[in-house]
Symmetry: C2
Subunit: 445 residues, 2 copies
């Protein structure tokens, strides 16, 4: 153990209290996914390198290759790399198992990915993502696009993130609108309008004109991007711009249905139609999603996704779908760093069973066994120290209750809530504590 121990940049690790907070987030996400009928799968950490290259935009040089340290032929032939997202492995999984899956296939996947990018705030080399997708064979009804913002809103309602916005757009709206005003280079136009937050309206206007738009076309693009409504009101606002195109109408209708479904299932204002949302220019073809925490917009999107026409194709069959991804590590690390996210204790134990003397340890162990049988996490004190010291052991860890087993000569067992100091007689077969004491609770500043 002579090696000096230093953290590895970009590979975050958590202390127990913070890990409890992360686990809580993961539990909320998983439960929500399952309530919506998504089946969990996991894919292996590695894919053949040739399957990873060219799939992640600029990510090729960020791929981590894996090879046997001292292998012979086997190592050289391997050509494996760690996956850098969950989409590439999911696409491969669908193709590999197509004959054994039920379509439309609703799956969730909560796993780590690795990306050798430069570590910075909110960017990690090892990070956990939580994805859901619905994919079907050949075609996928648009109503699935309405599910995603509802799932996102349900997740964030359960987390200590304060106010948030799930912002939705439909790729067909700007696309049809641009065509309707005579701009045919859709991708370039989208790319410029996407810089609105960074360079402002004047900057976008100048860039659009430079790219060949007239001043009036540029104004119209800006007017579209500035539309944002918490209900279906965006439809009339777009129509008031006086542009018509079949794609535009299609996009407006689908997004109106998304907003209508969201308004029936989520709190007002959480899901908004925001026609400036761009996202994944070359991949998404319908509704797109982003999620910002209000007051922390500079963090960027903590969850997003969209509708795509081809997750994968084996030539004969394509698999269209719609999906979202929650950046768990990014979210949790930012909540820890900026909001002091932690938990009330460093152990799952709700009760520390004290030990009166070494001979009494079996009696304490019996209390612990009885409590556990009723779902109460607990541990037995490591030493038969004086009770003050045993109470301090619990206090340091945030364990709320200390149990004192009776000795036979006294009035029986007692349990102390060390937060209030209240101590009452108790029996291990019947005692209960409030549900919120059963597990560590989240705390933020």
């Amino acid at each position: 153990m002579a090696t000096k121990i230093t953290p590895i940049s970009g590979f975050p690790e958590l202390l127990p209290r913070e890990r409890f907070a992360e686990q809580h987030v993961l539990d909320v996400v998983r439960r929500t996914f399952e309530l919506h009928g998504y089946a969990g799968i996991e894919t292996r950490a590695v894919e053949p390198v040739e399957r990873l290259v060219g799939k992640g935009g600029d990510a090729d040089k960020e791929i981590y290759a894996v090879s046997r340290l001292a292998g012979g032929e086997d190592a050289r032939d391997a050509s494996l790399g760690l996956h850098f997202d969950l989409t590439v492995p999911f696409a491969r999984y669908v193709l590999e198992n197509a004959g054994k899956l039920d379509f439309p296939f609703r799956r969730y996947q909560i796993q780590k990915s690795w990306r050798g990018e430069r570590p910075q705030e909110g960017r990690f080399r090892e990070f956990t993502q939580a994805d859901i997708d619905v994919v079907d064979i050949g075609s996928l009804p648009a109503h699935f696009e309405a599910e995603m913002p509802i799932v996102l809103a349900e997740i964030f309602e359960q987390l200590p993130v304060g106010d948030f916005r799930v912002r939705c757009n439909n790729r067909k709206i700007p696309q049809g609108f641009y065509l309707g005003i005579g701009l045919t280079d859709i991708v370039t136009t989208l790319r410029i309008v996407d810089k609105l937050d960074k360079v402002g309206a004047a900057g976008v206007r100048a860039m659009l004109v430079e790219a060949g738009a007239t001043a009036q076309q540029a104004e119209q693009c800006l007017a579209l991007a500035e539309i944002s409504t918490a209900d279906g009101g965006f439809v009339d606002q777009v129509r008031a711009l006086g542009v018509d195109h079949p794609l535009l109408q299609e996009g407006l209708q689908t997004l109106a249905e998304v907003m209508s479904a969201a308004s029936a299932a989520t709190r007002p204002g959480r899901v908004v139609a925001d026609l400036s949302v761009a996202r994944g220019l070359d991949y998404y073809t319908g509704t797109v999603y982003e999620t910002q925490l209000v007051g922390f917009e500079s963090w960027g999107s903590v969850a997003g996704g969209g509708r795509y026409d081809a997750l994968a194709s084996d030539g004969a069959t394509t698999y269209p779908g719609v999906g979202i991804s929650v950046g768990i590590t990014r979210l949790v690390q930012l909540l820890i760093a900026r909001r002091g996210l932690t938990t009330t204790r460093s152990t799952p134990s709700a009760v520390l069973v004290a030990v009166t003397d070494d001979a009494g340890r079996p009696r304490s162990a019996a209390v612990a066994t009885a409590l556990r049988a009723r779902g109460i996490p607990c541990e037995v004190a490591p030493k038969a120290d004086r009770f003050g010291k045993q109470i301090r052991y619990a206090d340091r860890r945030g364990i709320p209750y200390v149990w004192f087993p009776g000795t036979g000569d006294d009035d029986g067992d007692q349990v102390k809530d060390i937060r209030s100091g209240a101590q009452v007689p108790a029996q291990a077969q019947t005692w209960t504590c409030p549900d919120e004491d059963l597990r560590p609770a989240l705390r933020t500043d």
Copy 2:
């Protein structure tokens, strides 16, 4: 997607029904660990290679090195490898965070590891392990050694594994015994006796004599290894062999306490004292554990561990501890392959909400929202097909209930248990199903 898709040997993946079974196992393990007051942590997937080399016995050449595919200096300097177990990273984590942890530190860790060994039944290159350890600073009381077989027994009682044995020994028993009969090469003797299952008593006898033991010494070694009792009876059987040594007495006392604690907290016969258990010759110093499934002993141990004197040391301080590891992937893959482990459905959905016609989709979505709000996983049918087809959608996935929203012109909502065919009126705000229908249930052949 021109690459031909083939599984990668040693990197198993599961279909949804099997993954539910694995997830169930993981949930049982985690819940049990938490009931016993172990705090969950995760460590990064990579360690500096020099920290991995030499720590895994013969495993050096099985280490997977990780490097940036197209990195410059950064990639060359990295020298990272994927961890091959959870002990090496845990030891590093303890040293790195010693000042921030509460000792004795009780932690669990459920993560994947990677080992480039030759894939074969029960051996994988990517596999999940579930570990607990209690580590302390300087010294650790022996009573912690009694916790481990209880945790193991509780886990396996909850899994569909049939009868099982948690076999315990104490390293000090053979060690003291061998010294007591005049054999001083402890490791060689242990190594030979450990072959008892493979080569039989005659083989062990011959090898011991060849290694320098007298015929009588060899007989005594065999007599010790053959002792196995489901209670504290082993103590008298060892004493009847007429050998005395302080280490032997110490080992007998600790193992007797382990068995006494186990008998108070587990079903009779699950935890046994078995003086032939060897395990990790150069690492463990006290109680050692193995777990076999009865009738499947050839699978080897599916969970084990032991007491060690030094998880890690920074020179000034050593961290002794005791721990166990459950081989999740091995266990689950074997249960799938040999016992047909699966689950009753391929989705978490307990209810499929049918769709009467496209205009009625919002009404179906409202039913789903109401059910989810009460913790009932469900999904809305993808298409407004005729009901027979929607029922088949549910049936194919094993979804037990189909919900028919009322149209306003009829008597209101109805729900059908498609297993029995029974159909009853129901309201989304009040309807419940039996708890066991809320999630997929395990099935074995």
